[in-house]
Point group: C2
Chain length 336, copies 2
């Protein structure tokens, strides 16, 4: 049932050789010419493995630049590894192409991967390229390493820990709204620059790989924010069996989100928990929090103390200058 | 852009908890509750990694039993690992569900995985479940291990080596023909039992995991046959820089393929190189070939000597009782 393709387009093996083999610079990739890849972890290390799939018109727009689709598919996985305190090393690429795929699309897709391989010091070691039958889909399995036992989990938050977040929150969700309803940003008075900012944040996540080592050294628990700050905090609260409280006034927002907040508090709160941030939520024991802050800031990564962990039922509380506004933000979210 | 689903169907997290968490029995899976999995190879081992994607109505039929779809998606990966001489240990599952997915389909899919986990001694350690936007797709990354440096590659075949193949060849390709053109088998006089045999071989590959250790001990090169015996042999010939010659009269065929051969030699030859066999092609140095045969047969695996490796240009020759019939079988194949 392998579909035949027009003669001017390269076959699978030619496509791999032409576009993807140049990305497979690690010897263990066997130049993508074998059934499998060989991978040797550094002595004394454990592996951290993550796999995120992205489908066209579900997780990105089919019309997005191919370079950005490639980068997003890789980066959402790198974000998971960073949140575990792992150093990313390699990835396997599953690429399911639609019927009307073109060599130039694949070439640009591969060039997006190439740029990110340099930026994040990872290499392609294997994968599969198929006809999807229908829409474009990208499935990446990323491989990171930490010292044995050092991977940071979600379930280690303890009462008294402080909660930190990297970067700013809500931008990508606002960017997605602008993509789905063009004019959204203008309606809420965002400047051109602010509009560009939210669109960029949606299109191209910036995984916080620089902070991975700091997370590994200091965090009691960490996770990346993909479903929304409050929703993801709920996962950490349940895994750790603690209550997580956040102060809205301390959560970092971009100029764009501040503008949105003034125009529509309701829409702003939806974006706050809209997801696709790919920032990292970190719980840090209070006695090492100063050291954590100092070392984290040395990496150049923006880091903000936004809440704390307390004993109590596994839940999340969001307050705005002392007023509990959890009900306004938490229930709305439905993932999948 | 995360699609909302009907209220009676479980959300992603509930779906993972209900159907997939019971499959994640390894501690490193973190019960599928974290961003990533933790994996610790045995001391002194290297990893062998493979990733095969399957799309509905490209690699299987959407109407296939969900248990069989799950098993096939896992087994094609296990076949790759066996061909490298690696022992399968774990896998990550990417499942992209169509809009009209049902809990009962996912339950049956998970039960197919469960059965194969017992049969092949592997566990689920991580993955991702998404809306595909369009058709069903399964992307599995499988993880095996060998001692450092022991993985068997495609490029090690040397002049004088003997070529072996496991099982019988061409059945799955004939089974696919019957699926695509019902009545195909009857037209070519296959019995009911023979028809059932080819359909089974297409639906459910039997990865040769039992022979992995024997391959590791004796093979100079090995690969699994997914694209077709002759086409895949071409990959081995090019990787090894040798000529591979096969004797049609020694290639093992089932009763079904023998019947087909009598009815239509042309169709038979197409099935010979039709692919989806998931048997293993093994090159073995002549001086250890008797030992290889003896040990391989002890595993209960059918093994046949079907050709040999010689110096010369990287190519494949197929002869029928001394007559070269390469032209009749090799050019027709187009993958992807």
């Amino acid at each position: 049932m392998s579909g035949k393709i027009a003669a001017e387009r390269p076959h699978e093996f030619e496509l791999i050789k032409r576009y993807f083999a140049p990305l497979a610079t690690d010897a263990g990739s066997l130049e993508l010419k074998d059934d499998a890849a060989v991978y040797t972890p550094l002595e004394g290390n454990e592996l951290v493995l993550t796999k995120d799939m992205l489908a066209a018109d579900v997780h990105f727009f089919e019309s997005d630049p191919p370079e950005a689709v490639a980068a997003k598919a890789l980066r959402v996985n790198l974000s998971d590894l960073a949140a575990k305190g792992a150093t990313a090393r390699s990835y396997l690429l599953g690429l399911a192409l639609p019927h009307d795929w073109s060599p130039s699309w694949v070439e640009r897709f591969a060039s997006g991967l190439k740029g990110d391989q340099s930026a994040f010091d990872v290499t392609l070691v294997g994968g599969d390229t198929i006809h999807s039958g229908k829409n474009l889909m990208v499935s990446i399995t990323a491989i990171g390493e930490t010292r044995k036992g050092a991977a940071v989990r979600r379930n280690g938050a303890r009462p008294g820990d402080l909660l930190y977040v990297t970067g700013t929150i809500g931008d990508a969700a606002a960017g997605l709204k602008e993509r789905l309803e063009p004019g959204f940003a203008a309606k809420y008075c965002l400047s051109e620059e602010e509009t560009r900012h939210i669109l960029d944040r949606y299109l191209l996540p910036q995984p916080r790989v620089k902070i991975a080592e700091v997370v590994r050294r200091y965090a009691s628990a960490a996770m990346d924010i993909s479903d929304g700050l409050i929703s993801d905090a709920g996962h950490m609260a349940r895994a750790s069996g603690c209550q997580l409280s956040f102060r809205l006034e301390d959560i970092p927002f971009s100029s764009a989100l501040k503008t949105l907040r003034l125009a529509s508090r309701d829409t702003f709160l939806k974006c706050l928990n809209g997801g696709d941030d790919y920032e990292i939520l970190v719980a840090v024991p209070r006695n090492v929090s100063s050291a954590f802050e100092a070392v984290a800031r040395k990496t150049g990564c923006q880091i903000s103390a936004i809440g704390e962990v307390s004993a109590g039922d596994a839940s999340v509380i969001l307050s705005d200058n002392g007023t509990d506004i959890s009900a306004a933000t938490i229930p709305g979210f439905q993932h999948f």
